[in-house]
């Protein structure tokens, strides 16, 4: 299996995540799309780790750190979404325009 396959595969996943972030209006869906993009990055890290025959498995360790940061991000993100829903009765990001001039 050439290195090209996982990289193109990750590119597809990342593009799907980009579409989700840009097109969806539900804040929870946007967060899920971000998870998809982070996973695409993890695929790249693990694939390069395998193909560079890294004696120190740095790519896999980096993927673990990405997962840890993603977990923290989801915790805070969903707390913010809940807070917005409590205050404004909506999770539609088009209607959350407090910072709009």
């Amino acid at each position: 299996m050439p290195l090209m396959y996982p990289l193109v595969f990750a590119a597809f996943l990342f593009s799907a995540g980009v579409y989700g972030v840009l097109a969806r209006r539900n804040a929870v869906m946007v967060l899920m799309s971000i998870e998809l993009m982070l996973n695409a990055v993890n695929v790249n890290l693990v694939a390069f780790n395998a193909y560079l025959r890294d004696e120190l498995v740095s790519g896999q360790v980096f993927a673990l750190f990405v997962i840890a940061v993603a977990a923290a991000e989801v915790g805070i993100g969903l707390a913010i979404v809940l807070l917005i829903f409590r205050n404004r009765e909506t999770v539609n990001i088009d209607e959350v325009d407090l910072l709009r001039w």
Binding site: M1, A23, N49
Partner: protein, 173 residues
């Protein structure tokens, strides 16, 4: 092509389209709960893919942390908010969807083009040397020697995130 490489390729051919289809279904379906469940399937495909790339520990973490903890958190919030279908009241930004399709496809073309222009025809490799004493041991060794500081920082980050989520989620008096 040896038989193990062939098996690898077959597993990839099964997993990769399934993962891409579930990812697309996840961003396209209107029902948020269905998207969350499709994303779980996607994460399981990625876990299988990590096993294929000889990253067994990352695969286990993917299933436990992502498919387990994070997706349960998502589903929990979805149930708490009680939002099934995305109701489009009115389009606030004109042409948002076509623009999103255009940008996502453009990014895909750019990445694949860049990959095709690069020299990524590396031979299939084996991590046998790195994984000699076991994949978990290899990761543990580097995590607690070279990346100790980053590891501890990640712990602090998780504590701060947990406390922050608690403070944000607390009902204000």
């Amino acid at each position: 092509m040896t038989s193990s490489e062939q098996a690898e390729l077959i597993v990839f051919i099964i997993l990769a389209p399934l993962a891409v289809v579930t990812a697309l279904g996840m961003v396209l379906t209107r029902n948020a709960v269905y998207s969350a469940l499709l994303l779980v399937v996607n994460f399981f495909c990625l876990a299988g893919f990590y096993v294929l790339l000889e990253a067994q520990f990352v695969a286990a973490v993917q299933v436990i942390v992502y498919a387990g903890a994070i997706m349960v958190l998502f589903l929990f919030v979805l149930m708490l908010l009680g939002i099934g279908n995305e109701v489009v009241v009115k389009e606030q930004m004109r042409g948002q969807r076509p623009a999103a399709v255009l940008l996502a496809l453009g990014l895909l073309v750019a990445i694949v083009g860049a990959l095709a222009a690069g020299v990524f025809d590396a031979e299939p490799a084996s991590l046998a040397a790195a994984n000699e004493g076991g994949n978990v041991e290899a990761i543990g060794r580097i995590l607690f020697t070279r990346y100790t500081f980053a590891f501890e920082t990640a712990g602090i980050l998780l504590v701060v995130a947990a406390v922050g989520a608690l403070v944000l989620g607390k009902r204000q008096p």
